[in-house]
Subunit: 258 residues, 2 copies
């Protein structure tokens, strides 16, 4: 079924774990996983039921090496793959594919998802952003990715970096907003759970009709009485107040019907 | 079934529409809806299949009047209810219940949800925050609300205002983050839809394990190289850059493991 041959996964973090599970979900066993630390390698092997190695000997025999390590460690990994005949693809949202350009065949295999070792994810819904430095490898990687995801997107470095930046807003910063809500509720003896139906409905609506059209609230209405009252309520939370003010101004400048 | 008797809804906006549908979903027809503008009243009657009135005569015969008007219009409505014998409850997240204190029996009936005229909402999931100025009316309103929602919460003014403020962060400001993501993706020829699995997974994770524990990303990791690159990419978007900087600083100050 899989024309791609033997696959190595390099790394032992959240992404490496998730990718290993991704492969296994389709009955594909990685040929090996490279984990430098011997003790950690043993644990990974037990956790995932794969062969782990601590040096590159077996990796060099594979057809695809997925480099799922921290951004800062990609270059170091690349030094071990100078004579690699397979396709070396990193999984970073921000790093250029060119970081691997001393390898003959290189690319990117970037799953657009937040990953945790212990959470089950519906793989088919995760967009896989791919890139390779030759049309043949693009096609190969695209077919490979298509086994796992309904959404395979070819992206160059610039597009992938824009997606990664956008993801900081829609995922990390959105999370911060939930965190502030959590804090304000706790200060008043209540719990964030109360907010879940509101948040889910707003998110659904935003994706359905666009965030701009889905926006409600005092800033959107230009309700300065409520804004003033909110700012007074935040007197003891100066950091949260500063965020309230900058985002309220942003809405007034950018979102109000003119 | 419903001990509460006749119900009037005052208003013709998103909340009034949603509350009318809420009642009808349980087979309860509002006794009347008050819509001051005669033409609008006709449309509301057609839209919702209820009797609409333009003056307070029939409203004064009801047992519960739900005042679903703009915050600024609540006081004006109250002037018509000075001799009202029923329970007058407004639906505002921010206004004090005391705004209605010239009526003998007053309270609040606040559905914690973003409302649109044309969207179907699962009412049972919407928290209903209630308040009344007598224990009997608290109990009555609580039983009434319990017909519609699995989550009825008694809240005083202060708690309700804190919830409303928290809702600005978790709903409105979260929406702004999606809006910025949308903008950045469009500038690079891509669409926000790509982000939906990421956003949904992050939200689920935040509610499950807490926003703080669910946070990932460059600021959380203290990855200043990526932060620097992102800030460079935002050079042509000064407003979005300012938001990036303040939220990144907030994460570094408040969320990093110490």
């Amino acid at each position: 079924m899989l024309e791609i041959g033997k696959i190595a996964i390099i790394g032992a973090g959240n992404t490496a774990y998730t990718l290993c599970k991704l492969l296994k979900s389709k009955g594909i066993d990685p040929y090996c996983m490279l984990v430098r630390d011997a003790e950690k390698a043993k644990k990974v092997s037990e956790d995932l039921g794969v062969e782990t190695v601590t040096d590159y000997e077996k990796v060099l025999k594979t057809d695809l090496a997925i480099i799922a390590v921290n951004d800062d460690a990609i270059s170091e990994v690349a030094t071990h793959l100078l004579d690699y005949k397979g396709l070396a693809a990193h999984t970073s949202g921000t790093k250029s594919a060119e970081l691997l350009n001393r390898t003959m065949r290189f690319g990117v295999f970037y799953p657009l998802q937040t990953m945790s070792k212990n959470r089950e994810i519906e793989f088919e819904e995760i967009p896989l952003l791919i890139y390779a430095n030759s049309p043949d490898d693009v096609e190969m990687l695209s077919r490979f990715a298509g086994h796992f995801s309904k959404k395979v997107v070819f992206c160059d470095d610039e597009q992938r970096k824009a997606i990664h930046l956008a993801a900081v807003y829609v995922s990390n910063f959105t999370n911060v907003m939930l965190g502030i809500g959590d804090k304000l509720l706790k200060e008043n003896g209540m719990a964030l759970d109360l907010m879940k139906p509101l948040v889910m409905e707003m998110i659904e609506k935003s994706f359905e009709i666009s965030p701009k059209d889905a926006l409600t609230g005092p800033a959107r209405r230009g309700d300065f009485a409520t804004i003033g009252e909110h700012e007074k309520m935040l007197a003891d939370n100066p950091d949260e107040l500063a965020i309230y003010m900058i985002l309220t101004d942003y809405i007034i400048e950018n979102y109000q019907k003119k």
